[in-house]
Each structure stands twice: as C-alpha cells, then as structure tokens.
C-alpha cells in the first residue's frame, strides 16, 4: 500500500470517529470500562502474587526431635532427611542454639520468661530446619520425613511443622481473583466488541452511497474496507492507551498516599515501574484486539463489496 493511501485511510478513520460522535463515545466508554477493570485486576493479581511468593520463600519445614534421641540416631536421621532429593538445605539446630534463637525472638521485654533456663536444664529438643527447592513440595517432603521416622524402632521425631496452610489459602485467593478477573474482562470485552461493531455498521450504512460510487469507479475491495478497520483499531488503541495511563497514574497515587498507612503490614505494594510493562502491554494489546475484532465483524457482515 502506498504511504499516501495509508494516510488517507487513517484520515478517513479519524473523520468517521468524529462524525459518529455518540456511537464512538459509547464504544470508547465500554472499552474504557473493560480495560479499567482489567487493569485493576492485573494490579491486584500482581501484588497478590508478589505477596504469595514472599511468604512462600519463608516457608520452611521444622523437624522437632524427641528429647532423648541417641546421637548416632540423630546423625543417621540427619543424613537420611538431607538425602531427600527435594531438600535444598538442612540446618542442624542444637538445643543450645534453639534456646539462643528463642531468646532472640522473644526480645528484651519477655526475657524473664526464659530466666531459669540454661544449658543444663534446656527443655528444647534438637530441631532440623529443612528448606526445599519448591515451596509447593513442603507437604510431600514433610510426609517423607514422617515415613523415614517410621522406619526406626521408636520414632525419633516428635513433630514436623510447616506453614503450608497459609500458602495454600493465599494461592486460593489469588486464583479466585484471577478467575473473577478473566470472567469480568471477557464479558466486558464482548460488550465492547459488539458496541464497536455497531459503530462501524453505522459508518457503513451512512456511507453506503460513497461506497457504491467507489465501487463504480473501480476502487478495490481492500481500499474500501481499510478505513473501517482503521476506525475500529483507532478506537481500540486510543482508548487503551488512555486507560492504561489512567490506571497507572491512579496506582502511583495510591502507593504514594498509603505508603505510611500500609507500612504496618510487612508487605509492600509493588512500585509502578515493576508493574508498568505487563499492565500496559496486556491492556493495549487487548484494547487494539477488541477494536479490530469489532470492525472486522461489521465489515464481514455489512460491507458487501
């Protein structure tokens, strides 16, 4: 296609958007709303994911041994657990270290509570802190530790603890948000496609005479179709760029306004520059797609060339 032809199609597309003022406005509004909701969902999902992986990374398995396990059994157990393929790291925490760690965690204020305890009457058991390669594997690793313990005459393991419950809940919440997002965005996208295709249909009807004259003087079909594609695509692109800007600016405002209020939570909202690429890419691609799809539908159906 010649450059001058392309500019002509773009010019015609723009003119047509202005000429069909109200219908264009309706399509723009509907794409705007779909994309706005999509944007909010993307940002929510990204932040939830970040939170989930932050918590995940803190997931460890703690193996509490019985208090009276013989040293060679402890050594054997440590070796066997360390040999589980999914285990990335195993830290041996002696009774003394356990007590020191507990003191640390309780802090100054509550130290009286542990006053009477020293290395002679340390009530704590030996523990292993086990880390796994994949947070999702903690349950299976914990089960394996249980079955290893079961091979001894009397189980040297008192308890195996892991924070999986929290992670699972979190995953369920992120999944639910994501699925709700998909459904809402799909429904709104379809509405937007229909509205755009209706806008284009109005353009086609309004330009019936022009189209028949174009055909009469020998315009090719693609020449006749192009301005309608351009019109749909323009509505999609312009709206999605606009919406993306609004969503990201709004997000930035929220981060700035609430950075102190939210600081009591250990988590932090992701900074704009980390969410920008994915959010704008998804929104602009979807917006353009909606626009083009709407016009293709209309041109197929109503433009008999």
């Amino acid at each position: 296609m010649k450059f001058s032809t392309l500019t002509r199609h773009i010019r015609e597309g723009f003119k047509s958007i202005l000429r069909n003022g109200w219908m264009s406005f309706a399509s723009i509004t509907s794409i705007f709303i779909s994309l706005l909701i999509l944007g909010v969902f993307i940002l929510l999902a990204l932040n939830m994911n970040a939170m989930a992986s932050q918590i995940e990374s803190q997931v460890q398995i703690r193996v509490f041994l019985e208090t009276d396990v013989a040293d060679d059994v402890v050594a054997d157990l440590q070796k066997q657990v360390g040999n589980i393929p999914e285990v990335s790291k195993l830290i041996y925490v002696s009774k003394e270290e356990g007590l020191a760690q507990l003191r640390d965690r309780m802090g100054e204020d509550n130290s009286d509570w542990l006053e009477g305890y020293n290395n002679e009457n340390n009530p704590l058991p030996i523990t292993f802190t086990v880390e796994v390669f994949e947070p999702k594997l903690v349950k299976s690793v914990a089960d394996q530790i249980h079955s290893i313990a079961g091979t001894y005459e009397t189980s040297p393991v008192a308890d195996v603890k892991y924070g999986q419950g929290i992670v699972e809940t979190l995953f369920k919440v992120t999944d639910a948000i994501r699925n709700a997002g998909y459904i809402v965005v799909a429904a709104l996208s379809i509405t937007a496609v229909l509205l755009i295709s209706n806008t284009i249909r109005m353009t086609i009807v309004a330009r019936q005479r022009e189209i028949s004259i174009m055909k009469m003087v020998g315009a090719t079909n693609s020449f006749i179709r192009w301005p309608f594609f351009v019109e749909g695509a323009l509505i999609g692109v312009i709206t999605s760029v606009l919406t993306t800007a609004i969503v990201l600016i709004g997000y930035d405002q929220i981060i700035n306004a609430f950075q102190y209020e939210l600081s009591f939570l250990t988590m932090q909202l992701l900074p704009v520059k980390e969410v920008m690429a994915l959010t704008s890419l998804t929104m602009i691609i979807l917006g353009s797609f909606i626009g083009i799809w709407g016009s293709v539908m209309s041109v197929r159906k109503y433009l008999k060339v």
Binding site: K2, S4, T5, R209, I213, M214, V217, G218, A219, F223
Partner: protein
C-alpha cells in the same frame, strides 16, 4: 469495444429483462439505446459495467469477458468504464473538486496527478470556477456536468450513460449532449440510454432499439422512432 453474444438476463425474482441479445459496438462509437420503459435498457448497461452478470451468454468489454471476471479483477475493469446516471449521484458533503478527485483517490492515483487532472476535467466541463462549491449550490445541469467530469477523470475507454438528460430541461440537455459529443470526439466510446426524441433525432448517431428484452432495430444515423 463491447460485444454481446446471445445475452440472457433473468433477475432473481424471475423477471426476464433480456432475451438473447447480440450486439457489437466498436471503439469510438456513439450509441443511443432507446425503447419503452421496462424494455431492458438499464439492464443492458448494468451488464456492461458489471453491476449485474448475464444469466446466459458472453459479454466482452475492452477485451475482458465481463461475466467470467474474477472478483479480484472487477475493480480494474471498471476503471475502464465511466458511468453517468440520471440522478447524478454526487456526494453532498464533498465539494465539486472533491467529488471528482474522489474517483481518482479511489484508484490510488498519485496526489499531484489528482490535482492536475481534476482541474483539467473541471475545465473541460466548464466548472473550474465552481470547484469549491457544493452540489446543492449547483443547478441540475451543472451537477450532471460534475458527474460527467467524475466519469471521465480516470480516462475510461467507454462511458455508459443511463438517461443523463432525464432530469434536465431541453436547453440544459443540449449542453450535456454537446459535452458528451466532445468527449466522444476525443476518443471515448459512449453508450447512452434515453427517452429524449429531440436529442436522438437532432444528433444522428447509431440507434439500438430494445423491446421486451430483444433488439428490434439497429441503425446507423437512426431516429428515435417512437411517438411520445
């Protein structure tokens, strides 16, 4: 230039408009198509510019077998055929200049060529000074001249005119006929359907009469031949 071999045309609703028409029109001829209303004149012309395709028979325009044309090629063949209607068919929101230039834009002519050529044909039809006006600001005769300018702007080999003077008074009709004669003189084949007895009888050309979908008369320098 135009050849029809045993052309039949039956519309979708069963109306038969042409019943075995054969005719040969040479390059640079000027042909009047006459006959009563409903005889099949417009159908004859629609087959030439491929608005309709024949139910049976073959039609060649400028060497192309119009009925068998691939969809993709139709536009290129139409560029060789200028069409003029009784109701002008101008675009009301475009200026006279734009209405004519539009036909060149549609076939993707270079911008510079468009400007030069558009002004040239507007001058030929005597409306250069009104190129900025809108169709509604022009008389019927002037509007028809604009539509003629649009029909010839892409230099077609053939012009098909369906009652071009049907909406015009006698004097204005004469103007239009002089213009068409001038265009024919410059080398364009013209086929014109008309009910205008005065014109046919005063500008003696080839006359083809159609009745009930058949050619009943074909004379060089013929007459209108019907009483109104």
């Amino acid at each position: 230039m135009i050849e029809m071999h045993d052309i039949w045309k039956t519309y979708a609703d069963g109306t038969s408009a042409l019943n075995g028409v054969s005719v040969k029109i040479d390059r640079n001829e000027f042909v009047y198509l006459v006959g009563p209303s409903g005889a099949g004149k417009s159908t004859f012309m629609k087959l030439i510019y491929r608005e309709e395709i024949p139910t049976k028979g073959e039609i060649f325009v400028n060497g192309f077998n119009i009925g068998k044309l691939k969809q993709r090629k139709i536009p290129y063949v139409r560029r060789n055929i200028g069409v003029i209607f009784q109701d002008f068919r101008l675009l009301p929101k475009l200026t006279i200049y734009e209405n004519v230039a539009f036909a060149m834009e549609a076939i993707e002519a270079p911008r510079k060529v468009i400007k030069k050529r558009t002004m040239e044909v507007l001058e030929l039809v005597g409306l250069k000074h009104k190129h900025k006006s809108f169709p509604s600001q022009l008389s019927g005769g002037e509007q028809q001249r604009v539509s003629i300018a649009r029909a010839i702007v892409n230099n077609p080999a053939v012009i098909v005119a369906d009652e071009p003077t049907g909406n015009l008074d006698p004097d204005t009709s004469l103007d239009i006929m002089n213009l068409l004669e001038e265009i024919n003189f410059r080398g364009t084949t013209i086929v014109m359907a008309t009910h205008n007895k005065e014109i046919v009888n005063s500008m003696r050309k080839r006359v083809i009469a159609i009745e009930h979908g058949n050619i009943v008369r074909d004379e060089q320098r013929g007459e209108y031949g019907y009483e109104i």
